[in-house]
């Protein structure tokens, strides 16, 4: 149906539209600015040692080189209002955009070479100049940069008009080369687990990065794969899935669920310690994300002090089980098959509920921004209480509580250092949390939360006790975070107030937003992307090199998401509706027209 509409809307003439110079100018300068910015914050220098293809291309240079390509594509793309015919103008736009970026960047190099700016920008020193001029003098380097940026822009413009097939092949090749190179640690880790180290030895050069040969093989292989796929976009596939027969979809979902469960059971056995640890951290954030998702995504209460409940869970566990705590009773550990363990879990649960009620009761009468600010305050108060000298006899002040014993399952000890056991423990909790979140979503309680989020007054008219419903959401969220804190305490073995900063609340919120508010798979994907790939506040991610730029990337990601895909990576259906009401209304209108046609026929 959209196809015919497109045909109707398409202009009859087929003259190529002229190059949109103002757009080219804008993106060219923006590209140069972005490149200069990335160089200025030290990303290029910091990531220069990390090779993608040894010895030619380092991650540092890659952070610059993608810009002319992508901005070239953007500049070559017509605005929706003036769809033209693809052709020379796209190539020219790309080329000029690239040249402009290159020019701008060359100018930047000349300036940092001429003036010593290290007093203001620490990174703009001789080291950067050396790196960006390839040791050949500014003039040559400037020319090189302009030419290569121009060529990359040209590549972008050409990609824009290339057939879809070619685009998907090139895209797949580039992505997998960079991907495999970045995943060096994990791939090596897995091959060690599988005892096929020679594969990793062949793929990666001694000083890191792919060897030129392996890069070629990977590029060729994945290009073939790109050829094989029908080139449909993610959105199209998602739409296809949504239109599937409910029964087929259900069966597919069951298969996916079974595969996931099998993967969770067997993967840790073949993965190495590093990867398991990474996944365990991701799991911990999924657990918290699921809890916050109920509060923010379902009930619509913007809680910025969520870390408080995590802290309460962690401190409760530490206080009960560490021999250094004044409340210690010998024999109390978090052994899941012992009475003491059950007692610890119960007390953590009760403390989380109490904390949820204590924080929740005063704040849930507030709406929107006020609620966010007050919860933020509560989050800090809790941390400062744990830090205070006044409570130091119980919580150790800044020294925190150390010597928290490991968890256990009967005779088996689940050490924090044994990442495999830790992974299983966290996976069990995440599984339970997913079940709880999923069951609640499609129930009387979940419906009440949604109603509350959509229109609080109307919800009251439906007989929903809004205070009680909000408090329930708050308390359930607190319980999830409390258990996450409990596991965190036994995992790291010692806890300090500094582990529970505001940043943690914000990162969990970003996970929920990036993944897709109100969506359970969204939280999982958000945690994998943010914590797994980029790393948590203290946890290392796959791209460890990016560690010092983590917050910058979080921020950039959040901005791009808000602009381009506010519903998140894997949106909740309802949320998607909320953000795309106009388009949906149009679809519904079309559906109605067609269904009325059908009525007329019968």
């Amino acid at each position: 149906m959209t196809h015919t509409l497109e045909q109707i809307d398409a202009p009859a003439s087929s003259t190529p539209s002229p190059v949109d110079w103002s757009k080219v100018q804008k993106w060219g300068v923006l590209g140069g600015l972005t490149m200069s910015f990335i160089a200025a914050i030290g990303m290029v220098t910091a990531l220069d040692q990390r090779l993608i293809i040894s010895p030619w291309l380092s991650l540092g240079f890659l952070t610059l080189l993608w810009i002319p390509v992508v901005f070239g594509i953007i500049a070559a793309t017509e605005d929706a209002e003036t769809p033209g015919v693809a052709g020379d103008r796209d190539v020219i736009s790309g080329l000029v955009t690239g040249l402009l970026s290159g020019l701008f960047f060359a100018f930047f190099i000349v300036i940092i070479d001429a003036f010593d700016l290290t007093d203001i920008f620490r990174n703009l020193g001789p080291k950067l100049v050396e790196l960006l001029t390839f040791g050949r003098g500014v003039g040559v380097a400037a020319a090189l940069w302009i030419i290569s940026c121009g060529l990359l822009g040209l590549l972008g413009g050409t990609l824009k008009i290339a057939p879809r097939m070619a685009r998907s092949m090139i895209g797949a090749a580039a992505m997998s080369v960079v991907g495999v190179a970045l995943l060096e640690i994990i791939v090596t880790d897995i091959t060690q687990g599988l005892r096929i180290e020679f594969v990793a030895d062949w793929i990666y050069a001694l000083n890191g990065g792919l060897t030129p040969a392996s890069a070629l093989v990977i590029a060729a292989g994945s290009a073939l794969f790109g050829l094989r796929s029908d080139g449909s976009t993610l959105a199209e596939r998602r739409l296809e899935r949504m239109n599937l027969d409910p029964e087929v979809r259900f069966r597919k979902n069951v298969v996916a669920a079974v595969l996931t469960i099998l993967a969770v059971i067997f993967l840790p056995m073949i993965l190495g310690g590093l990867t398991n640890d990474l996944l365990a951290n991701v799991g911990l954030f999924i657990l918290m994300g699921l809890g916050l998702n109920i509060v923010v995504g379902s009930a619509g209460l913007l809680d910025l002090g969520y870390v408080a409940f995590f802290a309460v869970g962690a401190y409760t566990t530490a206080v009960l089980t560490s021999p250094l705590s004044p409340f210690y009773t010998p024999g109390w550990t978090l052994n899941f098959l012992s009475l003491e363990g059950a007692a610890v879990i119960t007390i953590v649960l009760i403390m989380a509920v109490i904390a949820g009620v204590l924080v929740g009761t005063p704040v849930i009468r507030l709406r929107g921004d006020y609620l966010a600010i007050v919860t933020l305050g509560f989050g800090e108060i809790v941390r400062i209480l744990f830090l205070s000298d006044w409570l130091a006899p119980y919580f150790g002040g800044a020294q925190g509580i150390t010597n928290v014993p490991s968890a256990g399952l009967g005779p088996v000890e689940i050490r924090g250092t044994s990442s495999q056991a830790m992974f299983y423990l966290i996976a069990a909790f995440v599984g339970a949390a997913i079940y709880v979140a999923w069951r609640l979503q499609a129930s009387r309680t979940g419906r009440a939360w949604t109603a509350l989020r959509e229109d609080e007054d109307a919800a009251e008219a439906m007989g929903i006790n809004t205070t009680a419903a909000k408090l329930t959401a708050f308390v359930i969220g607190a319980i999830f975070a409390g258990f996450a804190g409990m596991i965190f305490a036994v995992k790291v073995g010692s806890i300090f107030p500094s582990s529970f900063k505001l940043l943690l609340s914000i990162i969990i919120l970003v996970i929920v937003i990036v993944g897709g508010m109100g969506s359970i798979p969204g939280v999982i994907i958000g945690a994998v992307v943010l914590i797994g790939i980029l790393g948590g506040p203290t946890q290392q991610g796959l791209l460890q090199e990016f560690g010092q730029f983590k917050l910058l990337i979080y921020g950039a990601l959040l901005v791009v998401m808000m602009l381009k895909r506010p519903e998140g990576l894997w949106p909740n259906v309802r949320r998607q509706r909320e953000l795309h009401q106009d388009e949906m209304s149009q679809d519904a209108w079309l559906m109605e027209e067609s269904s009325q046609d059908k009525d007329g026929d019968s």
Binding site: R444, A448, A458, A461, G463, R574
Partner: protein, 262 residues
Amino acid sequence: MPVLEITNLRKNFGGVKALDGLDFHVDKGEIVSVIGPNGAGKTSFFNIITGYFSPDEGDILFNDVNIAGHQPHEITELGIARTFQNVRLFPNMTVLENVMVAQHCRTTTGIFGTLLNTPAFRREEREIEERAKEVLAFFGKRLKGYRWDQPAFVLSYANKRRLEIARAMATMPELILLDEPTAGMNPMETAELTDLIRQLRDDRGYTVILIEHEMRVVRDVSDRVVVLDHGVKIAEGDYKTVSHDPNVIEAYLGRPSEAHNA
């Protein structure tokens, strides 16, 4: 026997006397229309009955229980449902979900039942859905079939108003308060809704209080008409008496400038 009996109701918003010593009652099975020029205090009257505002003074006896100052959800639970003058649906919930959520206070399954997926929980979910469909069937073809799974915001204005009524019915009330239910409807839709309002009483046994500007609707369905102006009852009786009352004519026509700028 009066279902609702209100005495000496007063409400001030700053200097504005929205309601000024109002006495009011509805008997069981009655359809009473409340009319009056813009700003007369009609919506405020509903808002006070349903607990969105508490009165400054006065008693509101619903089945001999004084509900003045109760919370809105408590009042819904006691058996008074309402619609809003400016449609307040849950726009991104489906039509069916909108009506399902309205049964909240008539159902009981809590978190544990939900998590354990108890037979009682499953039975109740099924009942909620069936009842929702049954209520929607009241509107004939208008809210049936493929509409169930459409989000509420795609509905036409008239259908939104119907869905609001369906939602009110689903709370299983004894008394329904309708705030300008035909606003924005074309004459045909208005006529159809007029019939439905009558059926609400005749077939379903609800007692109805109706705020309405469309005089034909008022004439066709009302057992009794109450006219408000500046928060004061200026006339009461059957449609014919009221429509010829000089006070009423003056309230509506005598000050055209005021009627216009509200």
